[in-house]
Amino acid sequence: MRGIVHHITEELRNTARELLASGRISAFLGFREGDHPMTVAPFAARTAEEVELLIFNSFCVLNSANTIPELLRDLTPPAKRGEPPNEPPMIGVIATGCWSRNIVVQIQEHQVPRDKLVIVGVASRGMVDRRKVLAKLPNSDVYSVEEQDHLLLVRGRGYEVEIPRWEVVRDNCRSCSHPEAVDFDLWIGPKTGPRSIDAPFQELEEIEGLGAAGRWEWFSNEFSRCIRCYACRNACPLCYCPTCFVDDSRPQWVGKSADFSDTATFHLLRAYHCAGRCTDCGACESVCPMDIPLRKLTKKLYKAVKERFGFEPGLSSGATLPLSTFSSEDREEFILRPGGPGQEER
């Protein structure tokens, strides 16, 4: 069965092969098949043989932008002593809507030089949440998953199940308005155009409707599962600080204890650092081994930034990030006035 993902994969390999053969790039960053069904691994192809390992399918839940700064660093030849640092070589990278928006954020933040990238744009069909697939299966011994245009054909121990693809697509992809790369040099696969979403923040409403006590109960229940593996941080294309705040020891912002206050501090600050930068790519949530709804916090901040500052991240590399600027017109209803009635409910 030759579906759309096979065509895109073919096109991807052809494009990467040509780019490498022409000498324009020294590596092509994408994904290869993972060690288990329904997983992928980031992969930089540097030869024509390696290009044959590149894939594009519905299980690319990671973000290709995450690896770019590291790859550029690794490919830059070391400078001789006393000489200025060498320029990194050019690389190619595959980018869906959110990945390309994260590349834009990295360009805005001077982490990645645009002129060193050949961005190969593609329209995401929505990535599949493997947990949703596993929940539909009689047991979790999956042998193979074949992706067709609208069906997933799952073969496992004692079963062969067909699952409608859209039913198991991740929540962030279901509410995505930009499946297409926003900034690209080459294009592969069909174009779909932007999607219009009626209620992009619907998933927050249930939590927002609870009282403060209910929201705390939700937060402490969900996030106390955290084992602090920091996979969410490592998978995030926004997390590139040389020293993360969780590793600071003087002052120690986040304690090493298993007390919930430390876990909560980590998650609050992690989400807060992504405010105005997060594109809701969902990589953090997809890599979480404890199935924590990490995206709820970042999505809340996405919503707050959009409502307050009218800004959505990663749509234009010329834009100023909302937290590195200000306006004299910014709303300040939360500012306490002496003698005033006090803060309104936020």
Binding site: L204, I207, E208, L210, A212, A213, G214, R215, W216, E217, W218, F219, S220, F245, P251, W253, G255, S257, D259, S261, D262, A264, T265, L268, L269, A271, Y272, A275, G276, L297, K300, L301, A304, V305, R308, F309, P322, L323, S324, T325, F326, S327, S328, D330, R331, E332, F334, I335, L336, R337, P338, G339, G340, G342, Q343, E345, R346
Partner: protein, 143 residues
């Protein structure tokens, strides 16, 4: 005096900018204005210097409330530190509200160096709000 039944009073960490609000607090003091002894003042160069880390650290360390006060918009010694901070505080407030931290625990205000009276008033107001919420339990580290 029955020490066992002492009334609980909130502990509020106040981050005051050195140019306006700290001087405002000073003025309240030298003017001998009365306000509740609930504040633990941390002097910072500018509200723009305050990161979310510090506010969360205060809450984690057992503060019942936090007060952040800086120069009025337009009066910042560093031109725009308080305006940048205003954006950050707005988002932090949203986030902490979303996870169920009572809004009254997190207070932001602008106090200039000449507003000693207003400073005393704000402290009374904030203390009253935090007192009404009771001792902080969420986010407090217990070991």
């Amino acid at each position: 005096m029955d020490g066992m039944r002492q009334k609980w009073e909130p502990k509020i960490i106040a981050f005051l900018c050195t140019w306006c609000s700290y001087a405002g607090a000073d003025l309240a003091g030298v003017s001998r204005l009365q306000y509740p002894p609930s504040l633990r003042i941390v002097k910072v160069p500018c509200t723009g210097r305050i990161s979310a880390n510090m506010i969360l650290d205060a809450l984690r360390s057992g503060a019942d409330g936090v007060l952040v006060s800086g120069c009025h918009p337009g009066d910042c010694h560093y031109i725009s530190g308080n305006l940048l901070a205003r954006r950050r505080f707005a988002l932090l407030g949203k986030l902490l509200d979303f996870i169920g931290i009572e809004p009254g625990r997190l207070n932001f205000t602008w106090i200039s160096a000449s507003e000693g009276e207003q400073f005393a008033e704000v402290v009374q107001q904030v203390t009253k709000r935090v007192r009404a919420l009771g001792p902080a339990t969420r986010l407090v580290k217990r070991l």
